[in-house]
């Protein structure tokens, strides 16, 4: 579920970068980057079965 949310947020950030205002695009970029790193760190502590 978190990956669907990340892709949705990323697509919105891209749309804002292309059609919206620059400050809002920068804010969304920072939010998606932080959420990606957070997701990575959350899963980085999982038991390593294959790719996590």
């Amino acid at each position: 579920m978190e990956f669907i949310a990340l892709f949705v947020a990323l697509t919105i950030a891209m749309l804002v970068a292309w059609l919206g205002t620059r400050p809002f695009a920068l804010l969304l970029f920072a939010a998606v980057l932080a959420a990606s790193i957070g997701t990575y760190l959350h899963h980085a502590t999982d038991v390593l079965k294959l790719s996590f």
Binding site: M14, S36, L48, K49, S51
Partner: protein, 185 residues
């Protein structure tokens, strides 16, 4: 490097990102290899690379826009290196198929590393940053518009693909089938 040339190179960068995202989809559909969670994080970082060039095309080249792409590339390189290290022990077959001898995550690491170098090279050319009204917005040409919408479209397709693959629960560590399609059977 003049501003128009820098803008054209940024549009070319968007096509390169679109190529990577499309190639990932092609491998997913042709080889029926679903992306693992760490693979999806790398796709996200590849798409994040596109936000800097989009802003450069719309508002003119600025070092802060290149910085966004550099951040995405460094984070993407860290994610892909993590996956390389997970499969580095002798005898480990790796995750997914190898293309030209390297697995997707190794190619991803090379891609992010190349992006870092290319972004640094772009930052070497000061003339593109010559003073202009920052409130001024460029009217992108058809070449850049197609590139931007291609990348946005591919990012949107990833929403559909991820929803099909993971359904409404957590994504599988080693996905082998689309959860949503399984529910319909």
């Amino acid at each position: 490097m003049t501003r128009p040339l820098a803008v054209t190179l940024n549009a070319l960068g968007l096509y390169a990102i679109a190529f990577v995202l499309a190639a990932a989809f092609a491998a997913q559909l042709a080889l029926h290899e679903l992306p693992c969670p760490l693979c999806m994080l790398q796709r996200i970082q590849f798409a994040m690379l596109a936000i800097g060039p989009m802003l450069n095309i719309r508002y003119g080249p600025r070092s802060s826009h290149y910085a966004l792409s550099l951040l995405a590339a460094v984070v993407g390189a860290a994610f892909s290196m993590r996956q390389v290290l997970l499969h580095i022990t002798p005898g480990d077959p790796g995750y997914g198929s190898a293309i030209l001898g390297y697995h997707y995550y190794t190619w991803a690491f090379l891609g992010f590393s190349s992006a870092i170098v290319l972004l640094a090279l772009m930052l070497l050319f000061d003339r593109q940053f010559e003073t202009h009204d920052v409130r001024e917005q460029n009217r992108p040409g058809a070449f850049a518009r197609v590139a931007a919408w291609l990348v946005i479209g591919l990012a949107a397709l990833n929403i559909v693909s991820t929803a099909l693959e993971c359904g409404f629960g957590a994504c599988a560590d080693n996905p082998v089938e689309y959860e949503l399609l399984k529910l319909q059977r």
